[in-house]
Amino acid sequence: MEEELIVVENIEKSFPGVRALSDVSISLKKAEIRCLAGENGSGKSTLIKVISGIYKPEKGLITIEGEQYKSLHPIEAIRHGVQVIYQDLSLFPNLTVAENLALNSYLGNNKKLLKWKDVKKIASSALSKINVEIDLNGIVGSLTVADKQLVAISRALLNNAKIVIMDEPTTALTQKEVDSLFKIILNLKEMGISTLFVSHKLREVIEISEEITILRNGRKVAEGSIDQFDEPKIVYHMTGREVGTERYKYVPRGDKLPVLTVQHYSSDTHFEDVNFDIHSGEIIGITGLLGSGRTELALSLFGIHQHDSGKVLVEGKEVSTNTINDAVNSGIAYVPEDRLSEGLFLQQSIARNTYVSILDRLQNKLGFVDFPKADITVETWIDNLSIATPSKENPVSSLSGGNQQRVVLARWLATDAKILILNGPTVGVDIGSKEDIHNKLRELARSGLAILIISDDIPEIVQNCNRIFVMHKGQIVERLEGSRTHENEIVAILKKLK
């Protein structure tokens, strides 16, 4: 029998008004890679915090390395080798790589004085454990997300990690970086370290995990060897419902002019001679590696970035995209990648977040905001997009990720946009809401909108777009027909690009 490193049994944990975990058990063997799957609010993070000692469960037993605990203290968890790599990585952006790595062990050994030679030594030995090379004197804030993650992993290993818990580690990584992360996880396995991998991205889950535990509404709903699971089955357990996989079918509407035409669109630094058009009812997907220029292209079309040459036509008429105002006035709307930092005023109400884009149109004769009219508009969109909220006056921060994303959509749809550009529309949104957003987008396209989706999520692109462009080094290098393209084809194309 293999050795169980940690066994967590019958955990109960409640917060005021919510039962976060009821009767949840999970165990990890030495060198096992287990995935913990579940939608937002399913209790994943609560469970992680119970294991790492931050939360004390009301009931249950934790056996770790043979010792039994009713609840762990963070120090005890660390002493037993539990290391959590949080989604935000918890690194110090203003300090060097070496310091980020070494400060922990200084604290652990209760030393008061720093020897910079030792700092470098500790740091370089930490990085060599996972065979990576990063400039020790580099400031962490200027590293790529992937490198930051490697620093965080190395730091965890420095503390004699036996169990590494990774919370959504692949969210901001490109395909290639995900591959190298997986190599490192396998490397950890060889070193006898167990990994608990928390992720939304099912393809990855299936690729890397050996075992899977699925939570829903604070209960364990499925568990077993990964061979017994496939994507639809995992989705079913996570959401409790069947999620459709049929593709979007574009029916040409017989319009002569495309809604959006982009001709020889170039920017000196980011993209070059981009040409395409979108007809009413089409959903176009653009994918590519990080730095391919796709985000900059979108930002330029929306007037946030500058372009240097080329033309943009909306319904056959040339329009300016020099400022955001120009773009909005010509019917272009943009939903940014990071809705939290770029899109929403989190503490403000849903209503205010929605009508902020059309304030000038809501003016009455005196130039004041016509609030009754604003309220009607907002209520229409809350209804249309089925945003789940008891009141439009609630702050946006009270909504789930999927509903927040809908508020951003509502804001831009309220401008009577003809062209909707979305950058990573479902990043960090769980599967159920993701499907809802996709359905909404299809519905919008069917009603005549032209939609441009920029995404890393290949299944998302393949399922929802009738045409797919691959961008590389600022150019569209591949144009694919959505209905005839398989996910693996695109993955293969992306892997070949350098």
């Binding site: 935000d88 918890s90 110090f92 720093l114 630094t269």
Partner: protein, 333 residues
């Protein structure tokens, strides 16, 4: 390898180099218009003028690096100075300067701890807390302790202002020396530099300014770190207060308060990030030098003193602006 190392240095200390360059250019310009600028007497007097602002700036620098802001330090300084002077005159008029500074410094530490209690334990923003405590401390001083200027300070404080080093004879035959206050300032600057660079608590100050949540997760005791920061600020403020009254040869309870924004400006001028986590002691000291140079020397070349404030503002905008611009460009935005 060597080249890239020095290039790295240039990049990391870009702001310090810019300030140094401005100081050099300004000095050469002023000196070429008025050669009096280069006289030993003038240089010594400039250096002496950096002492009070410098001591305050070292404390302010610590707080800014930790990602907070303190505007109560001048109130703490004047409180410690006035109360200590009164106390010493009353109880032990013959006390030595070191003892007096220690009393003022420790009084400052206690007042700094009041800030730390609110900022650390009640998790209130430093600006609000110190706006309150600063006003409170000064109000308390003027209401309950006194509004009268102390004209006869303890002898040792007067004597301290007369201690000078590195004596040089000027052209006109006067012998001038460098105030020992400058040595005290530089000594504390070096002490703070060493503490920040070579102690775990010192690195924690930077860590705290970089990411507060991460600092807690890694296992730093943030409360301890913040008590260290605000205690140190208090100590330096007490010291600055006593040194100030010693230089002025009187104890004026209306002095100092009002200069806190200039001090913060000097620190920011030296490249310390107002949002925390970035900055060097060297930069802060240079910032003080530059500000003092502008305040005291533009008048030598006939620029009216009203202009000094405008010039300081312009330099802050230009120097921080150019660095921000370069950073943006290197990130390709």
């Amino acid at each position: 390898m060597k080249i890239s190392a020095s290039k790295n240095m240039l990049k990391r200390f870009r702001h310090e180099f810019i300030i140094l360059a401005i100081i050099v250019v300004l000095s050469i310009t002023i000196g070429s218009i008025n050669s009096q600028f280069y006289s030993v007497g003038n240089i010594y007097s400039l250096l002496k003028s950096t002492v009070i602002m410098g001591l305050f700036a070292l404390g302010s620098f610590l707080v800014l690096v930790s990602g907070d802001i303190d505007i109560s330090f001048t109130a703490i300084g004047v409180f410690c100075m006035y109360v200590t002077s009164k106390l010493v005159l009353l109880v032990m008029p013959g006390a030595g300067i070191v003892l007096i500074m220690l009393i003022a410094g420790l009084m400052g530490v206690l007042l700094g701890f009041i800030n730390a209690v609110f900022i650390s334990l009640l998790k209130m923003p430093g600006l609000i807390v110190t706006l309150g405590t600063g006003s409170m401390i000064r109000g308390f001083l003027l209401t309950f302790i006194g509004v009268r200027i102390i004209n006869k300070l303890p002898d040792s404080m007067i004597a301290f202002s007369k201690i000078t080093l590195l004596h040089k004879a000027q052209e006109n035959g006067h012998i001038v020396g460098l105030s020992i206050g400058f040595v005290v300032f530089i000594a504390f600057a070096i002490l703070i530099y060493l503490a920040l660079k070579y102690t775990v608590t010192g690195r924690a100050v930077y860590a705290l300014g970089g990411d507060r949540v991460a600092t807690a997760r890694v296992g730093f005791n943030i409360t301890k770190v913040q008590f260290f920061i605000y205690g140190t600020v208090g100590f330096l403020s007490g010291l600055a207060g006593v040194t100030h009254s010693s230089f002025m040869r009187n104890g004026n309870p209306f002095d100092l308060v009002g200069t806190e924004l200039s001090v913060i400006a000097a620190v920011v001028l030296g490249g310390t990030s107002i949002t925390g986590g970035k900055g060097t002691v060297f930069g802060a000291v240079l910032g003080v030098f530059l500000l003092v140079l502008i305040n005291n020397s533009l008048i030598m070349v006939g620029i009216p003193s009203y202009w000094q404030r405008a010039v300081v503002g312009i330099i802050i905008l230009l120097s921080t602006g150019s660095v921000a611009l370069q950073e943006r460009r290197s990130r390709g935005v």
